[in-house]
Amino acid sequence: MYCVRKVTDDLYWVGANDRRLTLFENIHPIPRGVSYNSYLLLDEKTVLFDTVDWSAGRQFLENIEHVLNGRKLDYLLINHMEPDHGASIEEVLLRYPEAQVISTEKAFMLMHQFNFNVDGRTIQVAEGDTFSFGKHEVTFVSAPMVHWPEAMVTYDLTNGVLFAADAFGSFGSLDGRLFNDEVNFDRDWIDDARRYYTNIVGKYGPHVQALLKKASTVDIKMICPLHGPVWRNDFAYFIDKYDKWSRYEPEEKGVLIAYASMYGNTESAVNALATKLAERGMTNIAMYDVSKTHVSQLISETFRLSHLVLASVTYNLGIYPPMHNFLMDMKALHVQNRIVAVMESGSWAPKSGSLMTEFLDEELKTMTVLNEQVSVLSSMNESSALEMDQMVEGILESMND
């Protein structure tokens, strides 16, 4: 049975929701599920914009069939080849033998690599090309490394709809709602949208900035991403977030406290630190145990907040592995421009502090490590409490700059 929604005149959402998948890209947990968005345009010609993950293939094919209502599919337009959108291409082409595929050179190369037979059915387009389907004329804008090299976005010159590929997407299944104004995005969706962007696209800030620059030159009426709600108003809200994330600027002044504690002593110390911060008026605090928190959440929160406290026990003379993993993920995603306070603990040779500092200085970009560091020998004592007071001073002072 079909499940579709009209997006605007001539345009239908024919995607699907996935609440069964545990790990997106087999790495990021998605407790709220995810939607794979695909759009079908009924003009003089019929055009399908991207496909869905193979796991949602059956639903998707029923949706297309229903909206086409007996018409043939003329074009399959592929903005992005990643298998959560591209996996059903082959099946669509089998079912609609007259459909031609419109995409970029690199996308066709990828189709060959994925063993999709598109020979004789390809229309290769590039940045600036236009294509008319009757009433609707579209233009193509390349979006390399947002977040794959072949990606493009397609802009409908007739009605101002932007098919944005993975840009402006979010984790979370739609559950009947389709538009940003049908949900409370800032309350219910922004955390997933941030976790999606920062972990999937986060590394490619300069390329996102390049795309934002191009997007600012056209009059966008609607943004149709490949995941999450369709945006039909309040663009500034989301573009501002994208701008900050892709410039690696924090959204808010606040402190993320990520700690690694084996028996609770380090945890106890960061509790004291958080209390001192709150007493001094800094209440925007987010505190996570790195052993229990998925690193995608830690990354997302790092992008949100201006300050970072890393508190780690020393483990085998090194940084506690989950904390080390967090640091390596920050490096991989080009996290930068944050102020970091470092707290170490250990019972005979505490050195995680100097190791974390070295990692931040040498491996990450433009991370300011505060001079004030706390060293906890087994458990907090008066001397580490004194160091902690200094650290609080340092954090608060650096917030004023």
């Binding site: 490394m145 300069p206 390329h207 080009h334 300011t368 650096s398």
Partner: protein, 634 residues
């Protein structure tokens, strides 16, 4: 082939030797004693055409060969090592880069008067942190419109102060090492171009050696020598030739000492005969002569190679290294032959003994000469893991570097006091100004900029109001003796680990800065805005200590007696925000690979420090093979 000089060469030698004997030798002792430049003799040399010997007649030169020039340096050095290097630095270092790399306009404007001897040339490469390794150059030249703005300084510059035309090397692209260095022609007298003290040297005291100081010196674009980034290449090519001059100088000093020793040994009688005929001395003389002959062949041969446009870089390095090494041996033996008499001031061998030493040091130490020779034989050493190129931070660690420039001097002082109070400094308390430096919470220190001894009362007054002990830089204690030796601060003196250090008229030599690394807050007051102290300070005011110190003293005075200071507690040191690297990075649109100039691309033989723009057009992304065009700015 007889390995002999030509008749013309020897005729020339006779001419220049007559001049040296008549005009330089008689005054050499006086020049040495007074640290005096032989102005008149140099003018006469110019009249004789000696200042442009190896340059073409069309530029006003004598059109002689390089060997003739080498003989000239040798013969001058034979009577006075200092006069020898005046000619060498002028011809090889000051004039050559303009001759070899200058445009026709630059040659007409600068080379012609140099070659005619109307002007004197000099060469400014060495800096405190850039000796053998020019990659450490810190003098900068920033392009602003039609001018480069030159800032920084050079040390140990031969002909410094007396020269009119300077070839100066400065960084135009920071943090990429030697590729970021460019060469400029700078004229004496330009605004902001000043000279430091004439150094009090061990030898070659008749040659002027000074520090060059550049403060916002406007250098017209037209005075860029070669292209931007070619500075290192120009410097190295110049020094290849310069070595012939130094080698000739060493040869001349040795020759002079040798002749004196032979003469003395023949006159001096002991045990009934001239000491020359005592075997210990005759063998010594034989060895000296042998060494000098070997050195002479090396020097003359490299001069001939240069003249014939044959490769001569290795040969000139051998000549410089060998001639100066044996020069030290020869002057040592010569003085030994003289015995106690040679140890007296006024004796030529005594002066030669002191003059000789510089030849193994300058224009590339003999250690560097061996590096050059070895690299010609063995090629480049295998690539070592050089690691990331890192922008070098200040010696005292990351500092706030807040310079107060708004408003009048008084406003600046008030802003400084406000900032210090905001940091938690309490100026109602004080300590004994004679508190040992290592125990003091605060120190007010005087540098050479303080001037006369009488001005120390300004330091005393400020120390009192700042609740500080009195310290100084090394020269103030050691040379000027304004304070006892145990009060100078620095690596070699007292280390300051307290909270507030106020440096007054201290420019910030490396060893001084190392001694204040531990200070919580450093304040700099100096009239030279490029003084290194400002890069190493938290707060600074650019101004004359005579004006600023009384204002600061007054601003800190609350009109009451200072209360005794509580025991020192180390204050918190603020963390300055980490600065992004000064270069741009570029990101591949095919895969997201980021090209980082700090790392280069070792697999493609792109060394660290290569800017993206400088990558060859055919360079491709090492990860995905995308072309250079498909990179965007990161």
């Amino acid at each position: 082939m007889l390995f002999q000089t030509t008749e013309q060469h020897e005729a020339f030698r006779t001419q220049i030797r007559e001049f040296a004997e008549a005009e330089v030798k008689p005054i050499a002792f006086m020049l040495d004693k007074n640290n005096e430049f032989p102005e008149e003799a140099v003018k006469k040399l110019a009249k004789m055409g000696m200042m442009g010997l190896p340059y073409p007649k069309k530029y006003g030169g004598a059109g002689k060969d390089v060997l003739t020039y080498a003989i000239a340096v040798e013969e001058l050095a034979r009577v006075d090592g200092g006069t020898g290097v005046i000619l060498s630095a002028h011809v090889s270092l000051g004039s050559y880069p303009i001759f070899a790399f200058g445009t026709e306009e630059q040659k007409q404007k600068y080379l012609v008067p140099l070659v005619k001897g109307e002007k004197i040339g000099a060469f400014g490469l060495t800096e405190p942190n850039a000796g053998s390794d020019a990659g450490g150059t810190e003098t900068t030249a920033e392009l602003q419109g039609d001018h480069y703005i030159l800032n920084g300084g050079k040390i140990f510059i031969t002909n410094g102060g007396v020269a009119d035309t300077y070839v100066v090397f400065a960084v135009t692209t920071p943090n990429i090492g030697t590729r970021g260095i460019s060469a400029f022609i700078v004229e004496k007298g330009w605004e902001g171009f000043e000279f430091g003290d004439h150094y009090d040297k061990m030898g070659i005291r008749s040659s002027a050696t000074a520090e060059l100081i550049f403060n916002d010196v406007k250098v017209p674009k037209a005075n860029l020598l070669g292209k931007e980034g070619q500075g290192f290449k120009i410097a190295m090519a110049t020094l290849d030739g310069g070595r012939i001059g130094i080698a000739s100088q060493a040869l001349g000093i040795a020759q002079g000492a040798f002749e004196n020793a032979v003469e003395y040994a023949k006159e001096r009688e002991q045990f009934g005969m001239p000491i020359a005929h005592q075997q210990i001395n005759s063998f010594k003389i034989a060895d000296m002569a042998t060494k000098i002959r070997a050195a002479r062949f090396l020097v003359y041969s490299s001069a001939e190679l240069k003249e014939a446009h044959e490769p001569y870089g290795m040969e000139s390095a051998m000549a410089k290294q060998y001639a100066s090494d044996i020069c030290l041996e020869v002057v040592n033996d010569a003085l030994q032959i003289y015995g106690g008499n040679g140890y007296l001031k006024g004796m030529e061998v005594e002066r030669a003994y002191r003059d000789a030493k510089i030849c193994t040091i300058y224009e590339g130490t003999n250690e560097i000469q061996r590096v050059v020779i070895a690299s010609h034989i063995l090629g480049k050493p295998p690539k070592q893991q050089t690691g990331k190129l890192k922008a070098k931070g200040p010696i005292t660690g990351a500092r706030k570097k807040k310079i107060f420039t708004e408003g009048s001097a008084k406003d600046q002082v008030n802003a400084l006091v406000e900032a210090l109070k905001a940091d938690g400094f309490d100026f109602t308390v004080g300590i004994d100004p004679q508190t040992p430096i290592i125990e003091a919470d605060r120190v007010v220190s005087a540098g050479k900029g303080i001037g006369d001894k009488g001005n120390m009362k300004l330091i005393e007054a400020l120390a009192h109001q700042a609740g500080a002990a009195i310290g100084s830089s090394r020269p103030v204690a050691e040379t000027l003796k304004y304070v006892p030796l145990n009060r100078y601060v620095g690596m070699s003196g007292q280390k300051f680990n307290g909270n507030l250090y106020i440096a007054c008229g201290i420019s910030g030599a490396g060893q001084h800065l190392k001694g204040i690394k531990g200070a919580t807050t450093i304040v700099a007051i100096n009239k030279n805005k490029n003084a290194p102290i400002f890069k190493n300070a938290d707060y600074g005011i650019v101004g004359d200590v005579m004006e600023i110190l009384p204002l600061l003293t007054k601003a800190l005075d609350n009109g009451e007696e200072k209360k005794p200071a509580p025991p020192m507690q180390k204050m918190r040191k603020a963390t300055p925000k980490k600065e992004a690297p000064p270069w741009k990075s570029y990101v591949c649109s095919g895969c997201g690979y980021e090209y980082d100039p700090a790392q280069g691309d070792p697999d493609a033989d792109v060394s660290p420090g290569t800017m993206f723009d400088a990558l060859p057009e055919e360079w491709i992304c090492p990860d995905c093979g995308e072309e250079k065009d498909n990179f965007i700015e990161g």
